[in-house]
């Protein structure tokens, strides 16, 4: 509990720069920045149009087409770059929604305790008892295949993690002296929540969340791979890998979009790993999973 009091914020401020100084942390930061730039700059970087078809079908990588062309003659390099504008923003959206829903429920569970806590925690148990992909698959299939529905489906499985982390943090803070002092001052529970608890919890949860963008990318592209997310002709990495199965000889069609997913996920995992070490140099433990112990 003491770790969550005052010093935590100070630690976030002073330690983060140091975290980036590990080779993996720096690599992660650079790769993540590059992908964010690619997503922001978008068409300015594309040598071709990602949707324009051409007679040069299934061409292996050449000087003109760095990553070759796909079954409809579209430039794979351009489509990989364009994919950054599809999956990454959706991953951010997914993480954001999960933080809001999980955070609010976790706050309620941790702050009010009793039956609210029981109910929320048992529901998270239930959802977590399901393997993520299978549950998301059911939801995505019932909603119909679309990228936004894939996000909703993934949301169903991803909010409980945040509810648990938030609840854990709140339970730790709730008994802190300054929160108890609120009651002496005659604060209403809601005011106490707003002034002293939410600000303390926000930082750690947001940092955890930003590192989860990688995992969210993995889940969303997995759903698209199964045909439950992006629909053709959208340049989405997971569905590009899926079309590569039907064109087995053209290895470039699947390899490059997969590498894109891999590098994005890896960048965020590298960053997260470096950050965890900086925040908890003793064990380099796993922040978000502390509950599972």
């Amino acid at each position: 509990m003491s770790r969550l009091d005052g010093p935590l914020r100070a630690r976030f401020r002073t330690r983060i720069p140091q975290a980036w100084r590990t080779p993996l942390g720096i690599t992660g930061a650079v790769v993540a920045l590059v992908w964010i730039l690619i997503a922001v700059l978008g068409p300015a970087l594309w040598p071709y149009d990602p949707l324009t078809q051409d007679f040069a079908r299934l061409e292996p990588p050449t000087g003109a087409h760095w990553f070759g062309t796909d079954e409809l003659g579209r430039d794979v390099f351009t489509r990989v770059l364009a994919g950054a504008r599809v999956t990454v923003p959706l991953a951010v959206l997914l993480v954001g929604l999960s933080v809001v829903i999980g955070g609010v429920l976790g706050l309620a569970a941790g702050f009010f305790g009793r039956w609210v806590d029981e109910t929320v925690m048992r529901v998270t148990d239930l959802v977590m008892a399901f393997p993520t992909v299978i549950l998301a698959m059911v939801v995505a299939a019932s909603l119909g295949a679309s990228l936004l529905n894939a996000v909703l489906a993934a949301l169903v499985v991803s909010w409980p993690a945040y509810a648990r982390v938030t609840r854990g943090l709140v339970v730790g803070i709730r008994q802190a002296d300054y929160v108890l002092a609120d009651r002496l001052l005659g604060f209403s529970p809601l005011r106490s929540l707003g002034t002293d608890i939410v600000p303390m919890v926000t930082g750690p949860v947001l940092i955890l969340a930003s590192l989860d963008i990688g995992t969210a990318t993995l889940l969303l592209s997995g759903l698209s791979f199964l045909g439950l997310g992006a629909k053709p002709p959208t340049a989405e990495w997971g569905s590009m890998v899926a079309t590569a199965i039907q064109n087995f000889d053209s290895w470039w069609m699947g390899v490059f979009p997969g590498l894109a997913i891999l590098t994005v996920v890896m960048a965020f995992n590298f960053l997260g790993d470096a950050l965890r070490d900086a925040l908890d140099p003793r064990t380099a433990g796993v922040l978000g999973k502390a509950e599972t112990r």
């Binding site: 148990d125 239930l126 008892a129 019932s142 909603l143 997971g238 699947g254 996920v265 796993v286």
Partner: protein, 342 residues
């Protein structure tokens, strides 16, 4: 009457498990019914779906014409009698479908979890002991890459390289096309082949298992390496470990008798979680290797809104999850006397 505390504990756990299973069915049922998808449209052809009589007959056959609470109650009633309903896709009882799909998945999942525990825990211990050295950094890189690789992509690449280009691994499926499955005993082809003494079939089944198992292993190895490292590091800092060292016990004894034993509890929890992750991974991997397991079945069921089949898969997964948790909790007691049921 029931005197042994362990028996009482097990009975209580079973009661809670039964409730959770009902919860799992309820969640699946609500999710699949709340959403706008219509199983009629998903399973009948377009012409059939326009024929009001066919649709009504279809709905009546699967009980879809009754109110939802009644449907759910009927399902639970049938479930108590071991009837999981009939798949709208295969037109076979879900139980029969699962009986052929489950062993196929278990065969990969068991192999993968055994390999992952051996490799992952080993890696984690090495990384913790050699903390900050080259081995630690190298293993950190391996584990971080392991948890970052999209499984479906790795499966595709592995299949392309080892099966298609190098011809080191057989093609998709559980057996070569010309091979007949061994006589059914457990449904695990490798084990059944051994029991029947069919060595060639055994070799073939094993060869087919290799790639999907290894692909699934990578992710879990990454997960377990990271957890084991942090669990072992945490114990290494304890005073009693320092005392053990100070009184001159050999490093090996300290590591295995003092450190690993204490670190095993959190590691076991994660192994349980990792098995769940493995089951998720099989969905994506089975698709690529045309593996007729639960993952493929779940995918078929979900994409056709085949409610009984989806519920069946949900039940299977829920039961596996509960059983694993129970085993993990019982193992805690075996490792750590403080949490033993007395």
């Amino acid at each position: 009457m029931v005197s042994s505390p362990l028996v009482r504990y097990l009975l209580r756990r079973l009661g809670v498990s039964a409730l959770l299973i009902v919860g799992v069915t309820l969640v699946t049922f609500v999710l699949t019914n709340l959403v706008p998808g219509d199983p009629v449209a998903a399973n009948l052809g377009q012409r059939a779906a326009e024929n009001a009589e066919t649709v009504a007959a279809y709905r009546a056959h699967y009980g879809l014409d009754r109110p939802l609470p009644v449907q759910y109650a009927t399902y639970l009633g049938n479930l108590l009698q071991g009837d999981l309903g009939e798949s709208q896709q295969t037109h076979r009882p879900v139980l029969v479908d699962l009986q052929s799909a489950v062993p196929a998945t278990l065969e990969i999942a068991i192999g993968a979890i055994v390999l992952s525990v051996l490799i992952g825990v080993g890696f984690g211990v090495v990384a913790a002991v050699r903390r900050g050295r080259l081995a630690d950094s190298a293993l950190r890189l391996v584990s971080l890459v392991g948890i970052s690789v999209p499984t479906f992509w790795l499966a595709l690449v592995a299949f392309y390289v080892f099966s298609f280009q190098l011809d080191l691994a057989p093609g998709s499926g559980r057996l070569a096309p010309a091979t007949t499955p061994p006589p059914h005993v457990t449904g695990l082809y490798t084990l059944d082949a051994l029991l029947a003494g069919e060595w060639e079939t055994f070799g073939d089944a094993l060869a087919h298992l290799m790639l999907p198992t290894l692909v699934l292993t990578l992710y879990t190895v990454g997960l377990l390496t990271r957890f084991t490292r942090s669990a072992v590091l945490e114990v290494l800092e304890q005073d009693y470990v320092r005392s053990a060292r100070a009184k001159g016990l050999p490093g090996r004894t300290v590591l295995f008798r003092y450190v690993l034993r204490a670190a095993m509890v959190p590691i076991l929890t994660v192994v349980g979680l990792a098995f769940g992750a493995l089951l998720s991974g099989t969905v994506l991997v089975e698709e690529i290797f045309s593996w007729p397991g639960v993952g493929s079945y779940a995918y078929q069921a979900a994409s056709h809104l085949d409610l009984p089949a989806v519920m069946g898969v949900g039940l299977f997964v829920g039961i596996v999850y509960l059983v694993i948790n129970l085993i993990v909790d019982l193992l805690y007691g075996a490792i750590d006397p403080r949490v033993r049921v007395t």
